[in-house]
Symmetry: none
């Protein structure tokens, strides 16, 4: 993401600038450029309490041409309203893939136009191609800060890259807790639960003597449908034992 330049053109609202900067910071894109911003709004955004480093270190340019000068790929964002599109138009996923590829070797500029009108035809003319976030026909136009967040999420694809704890590894569920909290319960534990549970059912009169074996099978199948960790299984076992103990006395 070090090679990405997010370029805000003609932005009017300081809250939107701040929101874009925040999303950039979230997704590791730290270089913001602003072109011809509404000056007062820009000052406000930069000096806002809680302004991110990204916002405070933004570079200002008078022209789109200057802001994209050192980039090898310039991509414009558009909701594609009534204006006729003159460049190749790509869905976000495909676009993000191409942007990532280019980022490996050189700088890429991603342009966002003004809140009201988006990028003008003149501004779009600096772009090699355009990117559209797939939204509903009936409500295409996104809020600037949200559009930036979605684009940066898709471009950064942090989850995939890091590959850290987020795959659905088979032996384990979730990430936190100790080992017993992560491992799926062994069948022997589940079977012990089945036994004690059944005893609780008998002692409470839920299961009559005759129906015992049918109930046992049903219960066994049911408990195996639950996704229990070893820890869960131990807890359930303890609970059931306690109930059985009490039911015995009662």
């Amino acid at each position: 993401m070090e090679n990405l330049r997010v370029v805000l053109v003609d932005t009017r609202n300081p809250l939107n600038m701040g929101a874009v900067a925040r999303a950039m910071s979230n997704f590791g894109s730290l270089h913001l450029r602003v072109v011809n911003p509404y000056e007062k709004a820009y000052r406000q955004a930069v000096s806002a309490v809680g302004a991110s480093t990204v916002m405070r270190e933004a570079e200002e340019f008078a022209l789109v041409a200057e802001a994209v000068a050192d980039c090898t790929l310039v991509v414009g964002t558009t909701a594609v309203g009534n204006r006729e599109v003159q460049q190749p138009l790509m869905g976000l996923q495909e676009a993000a893939r191409m942007i990532r590829e280019r980022l490996e070797t050189s700088r890429v500029a991603l342009l966002f136009g003004s809140e009201k009108r988006g990028l003008s035809n003149e501004q779009l003319s600096y772009c090699q191609w355009l990117l559209r976030i797939p939204t509903r026909e009936e409500h295409r136009s996104m809020n600037l800060g949200q559009a930036a967040a979605v684009c940066l999420y898709e471009i950064s694809r942090m989850g995939e890259r890091a590959h850290g704890g987020m795959r659905s590894s088979k032996g384990k569920i979730g990430k936190s807790g100790d080992e017993a909290g992560k491992e799926f319960a062994a069948m022997e534990t589940v079977e012990r639960i089945t036994e004690v549970w059944l005893e609780a059912l008998e002692r409470s009169g839920y299961v009559g003597a005759r129906a015992r074996s049918t109930s046992e099978e049903k219960l066994r199948r049911m408990l195996r449908r639950f996704t229990m960790t070893e820890r869960d299984a131990e807890v359930v076992l303890g609970m059931m034992k306690k109930m059985v103990g009490k039911l015995e006395k009662g």
Copy 2:
């Protein structure tokens, strides 16, 4: 997306509510639920000029349990700061895949906590598992409206859907039996189990009066980890009621 319920819990800022509603409208998720919102902010958001239909038609609830009662899957969002995570945690991509699958057959609730603190442990205890948007370690916490936009983008995957093939359709569990045997349990049933089960634990002396609320949260989390069908849930509920009845007499 018709089956998705976005649930905002304890939201304070009307601009954030509006932003979430707008992203929902962009990505075709039209059913917003708010739990215990800061009342003035909520009124402001609903009556704002340009408030989306989604915002104006939001449903209000007093409790998380009520807002998720008709859903079979409840997913919490978290930036995973210092609070220890007690549930399985999934990256957004994997999570979105699982959510999409479930949406084919039944309702899914996606919870967002307050801007300051996110979801509390008590609120998280209503969730089967948690979702995290992969962000930079140094700046994990996202703006609410942006987080919602990114989640909905990934869940809707509008661009891809046009292409067809993304489901590994598995909306149902189990192979045989009637409909009730196959459908996932609604959260209101699971919550009723939680209550009766807790009563059984108290009556059997497993839970002391003092530890009640901690035990309740633990139990709630655990029961939500189990993959219960509606039929399973009813069976478990019946069993527990019977045990409670017996323990009462004893």
